[in-house]
Amino acid sequence: MKKIEAVIKPFKLEDVKDALANIGITGMTVSEVKGYGRQKGHSELYRGAEYVVDFLPKIKMEMIVTAEQVDEVTTAIVDAARTGKIGDGKIFVSDIDKIIRIRTGETDNEAV
């Protein structure tokens, strides 16, 4: 089993979620993160002083999938999340040893 982590632009969440639903992925865990990368933050103003906001809001999606699904899933994410502009984000894939569904105790592929 594999873990896919995708850092995307916040307003792309709905699109990516729908794209994943289309290919049968319905389990995922999402959180708001701040990203730091090539895309630079905007400058803000406060009582006559300007300053730069470094960290940009991003959404991190984590989903565990079977090894076979990885390519399909990453392609779906890339297609749905791409705007072509800087800061679109990244996808990271890694290994997972074991999965357990708490409710049933099912493990591994059954628990995905």
Binding site: P10, F11, L13, V30, S31, E32, H42, S43, E44, L45, Y46, E50, P57, I59
Partner: protein
Amino acid sequence: MLETDFTYIVDTLFILFSMTLIIFMVPGFAMLEAGLVRTKNVAAVLTVNVMIYATASMAFLLIGYEYAFGTWENESMSKWAFFMFQMAFVGKTVNIMSGGVSERSRIIPLAMFTVVMGALIYPTVVNVSWGADFLDGTFLDLNMYDLAGSTVIHSTGGWALLAAILIIGNRKGRYIKNAIRVIPASNIPLVVLGALLLWIGWFGFNGGSVGSIASKDNADAVALTIMNTNTAGLSGAIVAGLLMFVRYGKFDITMILNGALGGLVAVTAGPDLYDVYTPILIGLIGGALVVIAVPIFDKFKLDDPVGALSVHLVNGIWGTLAVGIFVADISFIDQLKGVVVVGIFAFTSSYAVLFIINKFSKFRSDDDEQMEGLDVHECGLEAYPEFKRAI
């Protein structure tokens, strides 16, 4: 002491008191709207509210007041007090309009429109209804009874809003194909605080519009006005709550408050003329109209984040007509004529002015700006920078 001195003094105090209550509507509108929009647009909405108070009042001071009333002179109370009372009204018409186009409108063109509204459009409406009346003697002369502005303030603001929505368009992503995307309020305590401050302000708005408290009859008229104003708010809230509960089994507080405000707008045209039970009915209908109108405007894809069309336009009309229906001495036709004449003027003049301003300075924030939020683009800051946004 002369009796005229007595009435002069007491009415000055009374009008200053009323004026102060109305000024509480400035934070009232500000908190209501700040609570209703998304966090990313809160600072922009607040800036617009402060800008409106500053700009509309200044325009009214320099130009609009004298145009509306023909003179600064006043026998019955301090002229400065009377000015302040009238000045407290002017921003409200723009508040109604700006609230309904929030989350997508830029501040600079709104400020330009505010100047024109405060200096010309609103004063013209006042002129023909409460003021110098340049239509006097013409076939357009209005005999509408509108104590505190169901038409003069609320529908005028509502028509301006309708024009603005047509010109500025809807928030990005609000209507996708035929689906309506629900965009919930971000801060309910602020919504409640704002609505309740407006409610309190209404006591000054309507009570003060009686114009004098300095005789037994006037004291009764003022007190009855305030009581009836309040009653219509109560019943507007109750009916909205009941309708939501019957339909959804839940009490949507934002709708309940809009129902209350609808009742308050509706009673505003004639609270001094009703007995103490009629406002219950007027408020019930007012509250129900809000509940009915909100989804209808959505069906017509008129995107109004705060429900101002339903509250102010619909109930401004209903309230003005209601005087003609429930009060024997008042002609329904006169009321209708007032609604129509003011409506046509307010809508077309606002539309024209908005259209022209829009040529020079686009009202609408572009899609990216709306996506990121108006706060950063218009104000350069965030309303809640230390609070983490949920998904």
